[in-house]
Amino acid sequence: MTTGALRPAADVRVMDGNKAAAWAVLLCRPDLLASYPISPQTPLLEQLYKFRAEGRLDAETVEVEGENSALSAAVGAVTAGGRAFTATSSMGLMFMYDAYLYASGQRVPVVMSVATREQCAPHTVSSGQQDIMMVKEGGWVQLVAESCQEILDSILVAYRLAEDPNVQLPVNVCYDGYYLSHLSEPVGVPTQEAVDRFLAAVGVGKRPVLSTEAPLSFGAFVLGELYAEYRYKHCQAMQRALDLAESLDGEFQAAFGRAWGGSIEAYRTEDAEVLLVGTGSACGTLKVAIDHLRQEGVRAGLARIRMFRPFPRRRLAELMRGRRAVGVLDRSVCFGWNSGHLYVDVRATAADLEARMPLVNFIGGLAGADIRREMLEDAVRTTVARGRGEPGPEVVWLGLE
């Protein structure tokens, strides 16, 4: 569900998440578009090629033989001072993993959207968030959208974050495959002038680029202390990206009339006795479940993680402080911890608090399985029960138990 209110004067169109992403890319005026199709991201690339065929998108297009080359081509373009875009899903993301690590370690501010999808095996092309969890420690910034409008808006923010001279990091804009990539919603399309103004703060001249006038070497061999220095700088830049995401939210609202909450959207948390934590489109259903239960007097709220990497540890800890229990909704599996991935982060964040509270993890929506309102109402009720001290398993598999 769309949470940001549309301005009446905005150019509102009905489009799915892939088209919303394509519109955002068009407005950001990329110099290069590197592409390799994979479901459910493919219609995004088709829309960009359509824009180009219509003469609206003035970008060089590179059709490559695989995802590894797609990201590598984008890395090359950005290194030469351009703005580049590519997109992928699932196995495509795995297939570009070494280029993925290269882009971040080399501090290349490329933007890549991920229409999230389960990983094989077992074989499937269905929705899930396992793919982005598999690369979460790859040193990229990861934004996760809940609605089609937020996909468009997040891509605009992604270029501001990526190309900021104090950040210089690649950024993923992630949105649930099918649930958002193929779901049509009203989307406000900003004007080109407004986007140009918003992006004027970044661009060529504010970061090192390859040029014949002032040659630099790129990808130099690095040993020991210098290697540690680059890793240290990378970690610092991740934290600056976190701070910048918070301040950009206000700037974005001033420019486009919508605010999303920065790294976390806090939904009905002010008086909440229990807090739910989630990320992505299932949070829309979770909000409806919370609204419904509040009519019965259940005081629940939601912390929707919008910036998954770097993880908004301080803000989440503030939102968790004083709650009777915290429930975490995951659409992925962390094999090593016998839970979901987000749950591991929330547990780690809980260690920042003085007082302990019951934590419970709900795993659902794997491979496109339904996450219905009633299931999430049960999850909220379970979280409330844990807050009262009722025992139960730490990890609840929705639909299995």
Partner: protein
């Protein structure tokens, strides 16, 4: 925090790159028999380390950076370059 690089990522001034004295890695060194060298430049073209220098009448390796791979000796059509074992001196 004291940094050695002015850059955020592994970018570098190309001149400052020549800090690793890869000549230290060498087990054999190329010796050019100057009278045989036809000054054709094939060794200069092939050297993977880009350390062959034009000496005017002949080419020779910059031993500060030459790793001793021997490719120059292999491609030399005049057999002007021979590889000699480093004696450690």
């Amino acid at each position: 925090m004291r940094f050695r690089s002015p850059f955020e990522g592994a970018w570098a001034d190309p001149d400052a790159l020549l800090v690793i004295r890869t000549g230290d890695w060498r087990l054999e060194r190329p010796v050019v028999r100057e009278a045989r060298c036809s000054h054709c430049g094939l060794c200069w073209l092939w050297c993977p380390n880009n350390c062959i220098r034009d000496r005017g009448t002949h080419f020779a390796a910059d031993l500060t950076y030459c790793k001793g791979c021997g490719l120059c000796a292999r491609v030399c059509p005049a057999a002007a370059i021979v590889m000699r074992e480093e004696d450690g001196a």
